[in-house]
Symmetry: C2
Subunit: 224 residues, 2 copies
C-alpha cells in the first residue's frame, strides 16, 4: 500500500491572515483542498494521512465531505515542528500493510498527480526519492559577514515535495537515534541515517505558498 502523509499543521503566522494560509480560499476552494485533490486523483495513492492543528480537525472534516475528498483515512494532530508532525503520522501507520510513504506539504497545491506517481514508482525501485526543481538564482556562500564563494547551480536542486520513501527507511530516519525535530525536510533525516536518495525532476510551478506574494502568484497560476 502507498500512503501519503500531507502536512498542514502550520499556524501560518508569517502570512498575517485570520486563519492559517492552507484554509484560505483560492478559486473557490481552500488551498489545502486543491492539494488534496491531486492525491485523491492519483491512482498510485491508496490512503492519505492528513496532519492538522488539533483545533482545525473537526472543522476540516466537514470541508473534506463538501469537496468529496475521500482518501484521508486519518486526521492526526501535528507536533511543534514539521518533523514532529510527520513522526505523529508515521507512528499511526500499520507497518505490515504500508510499503511506500509520500510526504507532502499541504501548502504545495501545484504538484501534479503524475509527479506524485513518478516519485512512488522511483521509491519502489530505489528506496528514497525527492522531487526537485532547478536553482535559477546565483547562489553565494557566506561566512563571517562576507561572500566566500559561488556554488555552481548545476550541482544544486531545490527540494520540493513529495519526498517519497520505503516505509522501513523512513522509520529508521525517524527513530530516536536519527530524529531531529528541527529538520526542514524528510530527506535530511534520511541522508543523516545514511541512505542514498535519488531525485525526480519536477516543475518549478510546484511552489510552497508562504507569503501574500505567493498567494497572488498562485491565483495567477490557477488561471492558466
Amino acid at each position: 500500500m502507498n500512503v501519503s502523509i500531507i502536512v498542514a499543521a502550520g499556524s501560518g503566522t508569517r502570512f498575517g491572515a485570520d486563519r492559517p494560509k492552507q484554509f484560505l480560499e483560492i478559486g473557490g476552494k481552500p488551498l489545502l483542498i486543491h492539494t488534496l485533490e491531486k492525491f485523491e486523483n492519483c491512482a498510485a495513492i491508496d490512503e492519505i494521512i492528513l496532519i492538522l492543528s488539533e483545533n482545525e480537525i473537526e472543522k476540516f472534516q466537514t470541508t473534506l465531505e463538501k469537496f468529496q475528498i475521500s482518501k484521508p483515512t486519518k486526521i492526526i494532530a501535528g507536533g511543534k515542528t514539521r518533523a514532529e508532525s510527520v513522526r505523529n503520522g508515521l507512528t499511526s501507520l500499520d507497518k505490515n500493510s504500508v510499503e511506500i510513504i509520500a510526504v507532502h506539504d499541504g501548502a504545495r497545491p501545484f504538484v501534479s498527480s503524475e509527479e506524485i506517481a513518478k516519485t512512488i514508482e522511483t521509491a519502489h525501485e530505489i528506496g528514497a526519492v525527492c522531487l526537485v526543481a532547478p536553482v535559477f538564482d546565483t547562489i553565494k556562500q557566506v561566512s563571517g559577514g562576507k561572500i566566500v564563494g559561488t556554488i555552481d547551480r548545476d550541482k544544486l536542486r531545490r527540494a520540493l515535495t513529495p519526498q517519497t520513501f520505503r516505509f522501513a527507511i523512513l522509520q529508521t530516519a525517524f527513530s530516536d537515534e536519527n530524529f531531529d525535530a528541527a529538520a526542514t525536510d524528510e530527506c535530511f533525516l534520511v541522508e543523516k541515517a545514511g541512505f542514498e536518495i535519488g531525485f525526480v525532476d519536477g516543475s518549478a510551478k510546484n511552489i510552497k505558498i508562504t507569503t501574500r506574494e505567493d498567494f497572488a502568484l498562485a491565483e495567477n497560476l490557477l488561471k492558466d
Copy 2:
C-alpha cells in the same frame, strides 16, 4: 562619480513574447523604465550606462525622453553574454572620473533607491558588495544523479543586483586574465580575481523577471 551599468541586452527568448521582456509594459510603462526610475531617483547615482541590443538603441531613445529619464549618458550595444555586455559598458568609462560602478539587471524593477544607495555607500567603504536575499528553499547538493547532501541555508544567499564595486576592482576582474564570458554575475569574476566581497541584505521583492509567471507576479507587486 558613481555610475550604474544597467544590463538590458537580453533577447528574452525564454519568455515567448514578440519583444524582449524588458520592453513589455507593466502598469503603463515598459519594465525597463520602472527599473531606470529607481536609479534616476537615487541621489547617489550620477550617471547611467545603459546596455541594449544594437537594434533597440534608437527606438529606446524616444522612450527615455517620453518618460523623462535623463541620467543615461550613453547607450551601448551589448555582447553575446551578460559578462560581455558589462565589459562593453566598462570600457566606455573614463577611469579618471569614475569611482564606483553599480551593475544592475534591467529586469529587476523592484530594487529600491535606498538599496542602491546602501550598496554604493558600502562599496566606498569596503570595495566590493553584493545585494542579497535569504534562501527560503531547502537546497540539496546533487552528484551523479543522486542527492549527496543538504546545505545549511543560513550559510547561503541569493545574489541580487546591484552588485557594486570600486572601478579599479571591477577593471581587474574584467581584465583578460580574469574574464569569463559565461559568468552569471560580476561578483563571480571579482571573487575569482581574489577580492573580498561584502553583502547588503535586500528585499526578496527584488525579483528578476524571466518567465510569464514572474510577469504576473510583478503586476501584483506593482499594485502594493
